[in-house]
C-alpha cells in the first residue's frame, strides 16, 4: 500500500493502460483489471481494504495499536458480555464457559493438565493457545447480537478482563499491542496444540488403520452401546419423520401415544425465537434472564408497563432480576419491540 494513498484515486480513475507501463505502480494501473479477464472486477481502494481487513494473526499482523485495562474491561463485560457469559465468564447457560479449569502450574507449563485427565467442561481459557484468536473473535463477532460494535479499546479491555479472570494477568493490568506478545507467553495452553497429523496435511498418513477382512473376521461381536430406553423418544415421534411409503416406516413413541405435532408458533413467539430472545429468557423458566411469565406476573395491572418495557428492551438495563444485565437491542425495529412486549405481558402464548 506504500505508494498508493487515497488522494491518488480520482487522478487514477480515468486512466487506463498507459499507466500500466509505469513499473512502480503495476498494481493500480487503472481501476479496471489488467488481468486475463478485461472489464471484470476493479482495484480495491485502500479505504475499502482497511474497512474489511480485520483479521489478526498469531504473529499479531493485523492487530491495531491500542490498549485497554482490566477495570475498563469489567465495565464493558458487565454491560455487554455478562448477559450471555456470566459475571465471571463462568456461565454455561448460553455458551460454554470462558473461564475456569486452569491453574498456576498450567500457566508455567503452557499445558492444561485437566485436558489429559478431566472429563469436565472445556473452557475457552483451557483450550486457548494463541491470544490473537481471542482478540480477533471478540473484535469481529461480539457482542452476540451486535457484532463489530466494540471500540478497539473495549476489545483490548475485555480481553484483559478475561485474562484477569483466569489469573493470567493482575487486576491492574493494561493490555496493549506492545505487551500482548508477553501475555501470549503466559497462556495456560500455549503449548497444547499440534498440526502434525493426517487430517490437515494431505501428504501425512492417516492415524487409524483398518483392513478389509471379508469372512470370519470377528469371533466375538460385543454390543458396546445402545440408546437407553429413557432417551428413545427424545427426538420426538420418529414415525412422523419418515416417508409414509416404502419398505420401512418409523417407530411410534414407545408409550404408544403419538405426540401431537407442535402447534405453529404465534407471530410474536416466532419473532422472539428469530431474534434470539429465548436464548436468555424461557417462557416459564429462567435461563440467564427472568422467564417471560415472571415478567408478566410482575407487571400485571401496571398500566405503564408496556412503555417501560419497550424502553428496556431497546436500551438494555440491569438490577431488577439479579446482577446479569439485559443487553441493548438497537437493531430491533420499534414495531417489533412493541409486538414482543405486548406478547410477553399477555402471557407469551
Amino acid at each position: 500500500m506504500s505508494r498508493f494513498t487515497e488522494r491518488w484515486i480520482p487522478a487514477f480513475a480515468g486512466m487506463t493502460a498507459t499507466l500500466a507501463l509505469l513499473a512502480w505502480v503495476p498494481a493500480y494501473a487503472g481501476m479496471t483489471t489488467a488481468g486475463q479477464y478485461p472489464g471484470i472486477g476493479r482495484t480495491a481502494t485502500p479505504a475499502e481494504i482497511a474497512a474489511w481487513d480485520i483479521d489478526v494473526r498469531p504473529d499479531f499482523k493485523g492487530l491495531p495499536p491500542g490498549s485497554g485495562s482490566v477495570a475498563k474491561g469489567q465495565e464493558v463485560w458487565e454491560a455487554k458480555c455478562a448477559s450471555c457469559h456470566g459475571t465471571f465468564g463462568e456461565s454455561n447457560e448460553v455458551f460454554q464457559p470462558i473461564v475456569g479449569g486452569t491453574t498456576a502450574a498450567d500457566i508455567k507449563a503452557g499445558r492444561v493438565k485437566s485436558l489429559v485427565t478431566g472429563g469436565e467442561a472445556r473452557t475457552t481459557l483451557m483450550k486457548l493457545s494463541t491470544i490473537s484468536t481471542l482478540w480477533d473473535y471478540i473484535n469481529r463477532a461480539m457482542p452476540w447480537t451486535a457484532p463489530k460494535s466494540l471500540t478497539t479499546e473495549e476489545v483490548y479491555a475485555v480481553v484483559a478482563y478475561i485474562l484477569n479472570l483466569g489469573d493470567i494477568v493482575p487486576a491492574d493490568f493494561v493490555l496493549s499491542d506492545k505487551n500482548i506478545a508477553d501475555v501470549q507467553q503466559k497462556l495456560p495452553n500455549r503449548n497444547g496444540v499440534s498440526r502434525a497429523h493426517g487430517l490437515w496435511d494431505l501428504k501425512a498418513t492417516p492415524d487409524v488403520k483398518n483392513t478389509a477382512c471379508m469372512s470370519r473376521c470377528e469371533t466375538d461381536v460385543t454390543l458396546a452401546s445402545a440408546l437407553p430406553e429413557y432417551a428413545r423418544d427424545s427426538h420426538g415421534d420418529l414415525a412422523a419423520q419418515q416417508r409414509a411409503i416404502g419398505p420401512g416406516r418409523g417407530e411410534p413413541p414407545a408409550n404408544g401415544t403419538p405426540k401431537v405435532a407442535a402447534a405453529a408458533l404465534s407471530p410474536a413467539a416466532a419473532l422472539a425465537k428469530e431474534r434470539a430472545c429465548v436464548a436468555c429468557h424461557g417462557i416459564d423458566k429462567r435461563i440467564v434472564g427472568p422467564a417471560f411469565n415472571e415478567i408478566a406476573a410482575k407487571y400485571r395491572g401496571d398500566s405503564g408497563a408496556e412503555a417501560k418495557l419497550v424502553e428496556k428492551v431497546k436500551q438494555g438495563g440491569s438490577g431488577n432480576w439479579g446482577s446479569i444485565p439485559m443487553p441493548a437491542n438497537p437493531d430491533l425495529a420499534e414495531t417489533d419491540v412493541r409486538t414482543l412486549v405486548k406478547w410477553i405481558l399477555a402471557g407469551s402464548k
Binding site: E218, T222, H235, P247, G250, A276
Partner: protein
C-alpha cells in the same frame, strides 16, 4: 439368495399395546376385544398403511384398484399452479430437524438433512443441512462484494455481475460438518440416521474456481502459502485453507443444484472446499486474503480441534476421511415385511473417490461387496446397494467404505484406541444398526 423366506408382515404383539384395564380383562377371561387391539397396534406401527384384512378365497381385489379414485375421474390442477414447485403433500414428514438439546441458541445451531428418505446422491436444496454461527441472512446480491487482497499484486473487488461473467465450473461434491456423528464419540446418543449422519449433503455447485480469482489478482506464488476465507455474517466466519488445496479444486460458488444458493446455504456466494469439513466452506463469502501463515481463527483454535488422549488438541484437522452409512433400513425405522429388501446407503471420502463398499449383516463377522452406483467422482457421495432377504431373525447391519488411497473405514473401537472418546469431531466410524425380530431397527455400537 435364499428363496425360502416367505413374505409376511411382522408386527409387534398386540399385548404390548394393552392398557392395564385391558390386561385385567384378559386375565379375567375376556379376549373378544383382542382382534380390535391388534388392528390398532398394526396401525400404530404401519402408519398410514393399515394392514389389510386377511385375504380369503372371496378376495376380489383391492379397493384401490376396483374403485376408481377421484384423480382418475376428475380434472386436475393446471400448469404453474405453483410457480416454484414444492414436494407432494404426502412427503411433508421430510424436514430438516434440530436435535433437541444439542445447542442452546438456535442462531448458532444446526439442522440435519433427512438422509433416511433421500435417494441417489443429490440433496434437495430445501433439505440441505444448515449450520450457522451467528444466524443466517438473506443478502441483497446487488450490494454484495467479494474482495481478494493480501499477498496479491492487485487487490480486487468483484460484484456478483463480475463473478458470474467469469469462466465457471459445475461440480458435484459432498459437504460434511466436522462434528457429524460427533455426538456418538462416547456412546450411542441419537436414534436415527438423520441425527447421526445428517450434517451431510451433496450438491452440484456452480461457480468460479478460486484459482481463477487468485490468478486474476496476481497472487504471490512463492510466499502465499495460505488463504483466509471470511464471511459477511455477524460472526464474519473465518477459515484458513492451505494454498495447495485452494488452487486444487476450491471454488467460489453461487449456484447449488441448478438454482442460486439458498440463503441458509450462503446466498449469494459461498466457498466450496471439497473434501474439507463444512466449516471451511465459508458462507456469504465476502473476502479472500492471501498470506504466509495460518490465522488460528476461533474455529481453528477453540472449536473444530480434536482433543487427543494426551491432552493435545489437533489443530486445523479438516480432511473428512472415508466414511459410509446405511440409510435404509436405519435407526428408528421398522422393517414391515420379511423377504427381499434392497439395503442402500451412502459412502464418501475427502481424499478422493470411493472404490468399494462392503456390507455386513452379522455385526462384522462376514462381509459382502455392495453394488456402487455411478457417477464415480472425487469428494462426492456415492450410493451403494446390496440385496438382502430378511428371514425375521435379529441382525446387525454395517457398511465399510474404501477410498482410492486404499484407506478402509475404521471401527469405532479402532478410532477410540488412537483418539480417545473426547474428540467430538471427525468420527468416521463404521455405523451399526441392530434389527430386532420385531423389525425394529435401532442405533447400536459394536466392538
Amino acid at each position: 439368495m435364499p428363496t425360502d423366506a416367505k413374505p409376511g408382515r411382522v408386527q409387534r404383539a398386540p399385548e404390548g399395546f394393552l392398557t392395564q384395564q385391558q390386561i385385567a380383562a384378559v386375565q379375567s377371561g375376556r379376549r373378544d376385544f383382542l382382534r380390535g387391539a391388534f388392528v390398532a397396534a398394526s396401525a400404530a406401527v404401519a402408519g398410514t398403511a393399515i394392514a389389510q384384512p386377511l385375504r380369503g378365497s372371496d378376495f376380489k381385489g383391492e379397493s384401490e384398484i376396483l374403485e376408481l379414485p377421484e384423480h382418475t375421474k376428475g380434472l386436475g390442477q393446471p400448469v404453474a399452479a405453483r410457480g416454484y414447485g414444492s414436494p407432494s403433500q404426502f412427503e411433508q414428514n421430510l424436514q430438516r430437524r434440530e436435535s433437541p438439546g444439542l445447542t442452546r441458541v438456535s442462531a448458532a445451531s444446526v439442522s440435519f438433512a433427512p438422509l433416511q428418505a433421500l435417494f441417489g446422491i443429490i440433496t434437495p436444496n430445501g433439505l440441505h443441512f444448515e449450520r450457522h454461527h451467528q444466524g443466517w441472512w438473506d443478502i441483497d446480491p446487488s450490494k454484495h462484494r467479494l474482495m481478494v487482497m493480501g499477498m496479491v499484486k492487485q487487490p480486487k473487488v468483484y460484484t456478483m455481475d463480475d463473478l458470474m461473467r467469469l469462466p465457471s465450473v459445475s461440480r458435484m461434491h459432498f459437504i460434511e460438518c466436522g462434528a457429524n456423528t460427533g455426538m456418538e464419540w462416547g456412546n450411542v446418543a441419537v436414534p436415527t440416521v438423520q441425527y447421526t449422519h445428517g450434517m451431510l449433503s451433496c450438491c452440484e455447485y456452480t461457480g468460479v474456481l478460486l484459482s481463477t480469482l487468485l490468478d486474476d489478482c496476481g497472487f504471490d506464488r512463492k510466499n502465499g502459502k495460505f488463504i483466509l476465507a471470511e464471511g459477511a455474517d455477524g460472526s464474519s466466519m473465518t477459515r484458513t485453507i492451505s494454498m495447495d488445496r485452494a488452487l486444487d479444486d476450491v471454488m467460489v460458488a453461487w449456484a447449488m443444484n441448478g438454482e442460486m444458493l439458498r440463503p441458509e446455504n450462503g446466498y449469494p456466494i459461498r466457498l466450496v472446499a471439497p473434501g474439507l469439513q463444512g466449516v471451511s466452506w465459508v458462507k456469504w463469502l465476502r473476502r479472500i486474503e492471501v498470506g504466509d501463515q495460518p490465522w488460528a481463527t476461533k474455529d481453528e483454535t477453540l472449536h473444530y480441534v480434536d482433543l487427543m488422549p494426551d491432552g493435545v488438541h489437533r489443530q486445523y484437522s479438516s480432511i473428512q476421511e472415508c466414511k459410509s452409512v446405511i440409510t435404509t433400513p436405519s435407526g428408528g425405522q421398522t422393517i414391515l415385511d420379511k423377504g427381499f429388501h434392497n439395503v442402500t446407503g451412502l459412502a464418501w471420502s475427502g481424499r478422493g473417490r470411493i472404490k468399494r463398499v462392503d456390507v455386513s449383516f452379522d455385526g462384522g463377522r462376514n462381509w459382502r461387496t455392495a453394488r456402487l452406483e455411478n457417477p464415480e467422482m472425487p469428494k462426492c457421495l456415492r450410493r451403494f446397494n446390496i440385496d438382502w432377504v430378511w428371514n425375521g431373525a435379529p441382525a446387525i447391519l454395517q457398511s465399510r467404505a474404501i477410498d482410492e488411497t486404499g484407506y478402509v473405514q475404521p471401527k469405532i473401537n479402532q478410532l477410540r484406541a488412537v483418539r480417545g472418546s473426547r474428540s467430538i469431531y471427525h468420527n468416521n466410524a463404521i455405523q451399526s444398526w441392530k434389527v430386532a425380530e420385531t423389525g425394529e431397527v435401532s442405533n447400536v455400537q459394536v466392538y
